[in-house]
Point group: C2
Chain length 136, copies 2
DNA sequence: CTTTTATCCTATCGTTTTAGTAGATTTTAA
DNA sequence: TTAAAATCTACTAAAACGATAGGATAAAAG
């Protein structure tokens, strides 16, 4: 299941990409437009800012804005920041690899074999989609 | 993340497929071989039996066995029973569809657009793999 | 018919994750 | 100096996860 965090984060990003203004957009506006709890969205935008997707401005006239162009924002990186590993098991994760303690030999593991394929197919989709693709 | 339930269920199925015996295999044997808590595995095998993947026999010489041939067991159906919907959001699920209450128009939703692609790519993999493929 | 072996079933439980909420603080513009 | 906005810290309710406990049921062996 996709977490609400990821879902809301993606919606916020696409909203920012679609308004395409040089002026910062306020949390309240995004929350209202996308039907998201404002307080919850706050924390999501914060992590997006800390991870280099958004810039912010405080005080009156403040808000959030995209730092990069939508065409330059790949879904792989967005998903990794919001949702975590793309792989469904740590033992097939490229960026968050961990060995299974119950599994003596990865190469003979059926779960491993299947999840490698699932990971690759998901990666293909995420690499193929930028923020710009999603707002077309 | 793949749940332990699904992971263990898959391992149990592949073990049963690989021993390929006409005799039922006991839970204890599977649990030991795959390093799974026996009690936990019990409940997993039970749901696999209730969903038509396994047969069982009680008493001495009892245990579990595959009902169908490994070539006939598709990963789509296994995943749906153990893990639930293949889609990451209910609004793109084929078998468990649900409308999002926050989303006014699915066709304009970026999350929807992306998750449709992810679902299709995962489905492709699961449809492409039977239990027999995983033990090769 | 009794004992043993194994599945079946229901209930419970501790931990972690999720999806928030509350409230005070800091920064900026007017 | 006041109002508007993001920032930060802490807390919480509910659900999901990963089991565990203990008895019920069924079948086979003696």
């Amino acid at each position: 299941m996709l977490s609400k965090k990821t879902k809301y984060g993606l919606k916020a990003l696409t909203y920012l990409a679609s308004v395409d203004s040089k002026e910062p957009v306020q949390i309240a506006e995004i929350a209202k437009h996308e039907n998201i709890s404002q307080k919850f969205l706050e924390s999501i935008l914060l992590t997006l800012r800390r991870n280099g997707f958004l810039g912010s401005k405080k005080g009156k006239g403040g808000g959030y804005y995209l730092i990069k162009k939508p065409e330059e924002i790949q879904m792989t990186s967005v998903m990794r920041v919001l949702e975590g590993p793309i792989a469904m098991v740590p033992c097939v994760s490229l960026n968050f690899y961990e060995k299974c303690d119950d599994c003596p030999d990865e190469n003979k593991c059926a779960v491993h074999k299947l999840m490698i394929q699932v990971r690759d197919s998901a990666l293909k989709v995420y690499r193929n989609n930028t923020l710009a693709d999603l707002i077309k």
